[in-house]
Amino acid sequence: MNIVPGRGSRLALALLPFVVIALVYVVGSAERRAANPDDKLLPPISEMAQTVHRLAFEPDRRSEETVLWTDTAASLQRLGLGLGIATLIGLVVGLAIGLLPVVGSTFASLIAVLSMIPPMAVLPILFIVFGLGELSKVVLIVFGVAPFLVRDLALAVGNLPAEQLVKAQSLGASTWQLAIRVVLPQVMPRLIEAVRLSLGPAFLFLISAEAIAADVGLGYRIFLMRRYLAMDVILPYVAWITLLAYLLDFALARAARHAFPWAYVQERR
């Protein structure tokens, strides 16, 4: 508890697990290559670098597009739409359920039940209702993420001290003013935290949707390449997805601290 690493050691400590994983990989890859020069399971890093170069900078033989960027653009668009809509639903519905007892009594248990349905289990229904195009992929993300956001936000609203709300009302605030001026600013940081935590599930649903039916996208490529075990494509894609998710998370964290510095005063650095 009281041994605090210095600046340099902290960086070394942070890098250590990555270095170990990379080393285990390199050793394992070299061993498999020694036994079978065509091994596809653990391609050496040099080979993956070549593949990445081809995917990122050379047009594909068949589609004449640069695969990595078209995949990334398509996936990020789906993810952005899905998360955006889910966040909006989370904000509006969560606020209403948390603040207005009438709405809460009507919808809180519905949302609780909805949030328990595993979205992957209702996929055939989603297909039939929303088709097999972009819409069903976005809907899957929304369906997977929105109930969690709604519930989390409703809980956050419910946790606001009652005195605050009573005081605002006795000063003449209408319900609308209460929602916009008192409640909303206080729950915004919590909403962003919840979205950050939803990034993982959102990516999971995105990749699943793309695995099931798609002609472009990060998940599409991974599952297509899986058909002939092209790990030299799959591993860089996994790393790329991880990086994208990490950057999104980082950006949200920074945005929250920038927009609502008061919410992070207590944070231990």
């Binding site: 285990v24 061993e31 498999r32 039939i128 088709g131 899986r226 002939y228």
Partner: protein, 357 residues
């Protein structure tokens, strides 16, 4: 920093030791073998053989143990085999070429159980002939035998892959996909194909009976393992022909076997027999040897490897379809003689045909 240096050395040692374990397995004669199978009408005999004790009977005869394991996901089962977790797997000729063989795992096709004779098909909504597919989005498992069938079909009606748009769709969801209003053309295999054909607006416009013998369902085993352990080959061939002999039996015994296989594949006797009708089974080793010894096999494999090469299934680095050698039972090699990775071998089938097992 001393602390870090020590920890680092410790972790590295652990890592090297851990990696070393990976390659500990040698080529010493083994006693226990693992075979993976997935649900498909032509592979259900393996499930039944394991359940009915036929596997154990033959394994005991040769003093070995054979574990027959069902894998839920077809591609995963082949990947596991390629990674070395299984000694044998049920697979089509095309996937045997593109996954293990292209991955450098020398693979022998020990048993050819059947070829698809209508088990794979192209279904359209609002369309009477295959030519109506032009300009449509086609849902199928990309780079699979479905894709191959589509390519063969398109060639037959003088269309190109550019004339359609392929949407990769999981085989698990293709039945539901066909019900979506924006899906108007699919390529699928059984049992999904039966389900899709059952839709009132569905028309089957092309199927694998138009390309007989090109989509083969095999049991492949690792060539090295087979060479070191011929008793594995004998036992597997023995199990196979005893089981499908039962399956073919017109009497009660055969019906019981087919019923059990139907149940294991999640359908009923009628559904299973409907699928058997579109499957050209080879019930005797003699018949199989005859099919494999015909010069048509080389022609078929040439079509298949050309498709695989054109779709970069042999790997992006591969510059010619000859890069991977495919050995015919006669010893003739299609492609590189230095890099034979897929072998059609009738040695064990001939033993069975001569009753020498």
């Amino acid at each position: 920093m001393k602390f870090f240096a020590r920890t680092l050395t410790g972790l590295l040692t652990a890592a090297v030791i851990a990696a070393g374990f990976n390659s500990a397995a040698g080529a010493a004669p083994k006693k226990e073998f693992n075979i993976a199978w997935t649900i498909y009408v032509g592979w259900m005999p393996w499930a039944y053989a394991a359940q009915a004790g036929i596997v154990k009977k033959w394994a005991d005869k040769y003093g070995i143990t054979i574990n027959v394991t069902q894998i839920n996901d077809y591609v995963e089962s082949i990947n596991q085999y390629t990674a070395g977790k299984f000694d044998g797997v049920t697979v089509t000729n095309m996937d045997a070429l593109t996954i293990p063989a292209a991955g450098g795992v020398d693979t022998t096709a020990l048993i050819l159980g059947d070829f698809s004779n209508g088990n794979d098909g192209i279904v359209l909504k609002k369309g009477k002939t295959l030519a109506d597919i032009k300009g449509r989005k086609v849902n199928l498992v990309e780079l699979s035998v479905s894709h191959y069938l589509l390519a063969r079909g398109l060639a037959a009606v003088k269309l190109k892959e550019k004339d359609i748009k392929i949407v990769n769709t999981s085989d698990a969801d293709i039945v539901a996909a066909f019900k979506a209003s924006d899906v108007t053309a699919v390529v699928a295999w059984n049992p999904q194909l039966l389900e899709i054909k059952g839709n009132p607006d569905a028309t089957l416009v092309y199927d694998s009976s138009k390309i007989p013998g090109e989509i083969q369902d095999l049991l492949v085993v690792n060539t090295e393992t087979l060479k070191d352990n011929p008793s594995l080959g004998k036992a597997l061939v023995g199990i196979w022909y005893e089981t499908i002999g039962l399956m073919q039996d017109p009497g009660d015994k055969g019906k019981a076997a087919r019923e059990a296989m139907a149940k294991l594949s999640g359908t009923d006797l009628a559904g299973f027999e409907a699928q058997l009708k579109t499957t050209r089974m080879f019930y005797t080793p003699k018949e199989t040897v005859g099919f494999l010894s015909s010069p048509d096999l080389a022609k078929t494999m040439d079509l298949v490897r050309t498709f695989c090469f054109e779709h970069a299934l042999l790997g992006e680095k591969v510059k010619s379809k000859d890069a991977i050698g495919i050995a015919m039972p006669s010893g003739e090699v299609l492609g590189s003689k230095q890099n034979v990775k897929l072998r059609f071998d009738t040695t064990f089938l001939k033993l069975a045909a001569e009753g020498k097992l």
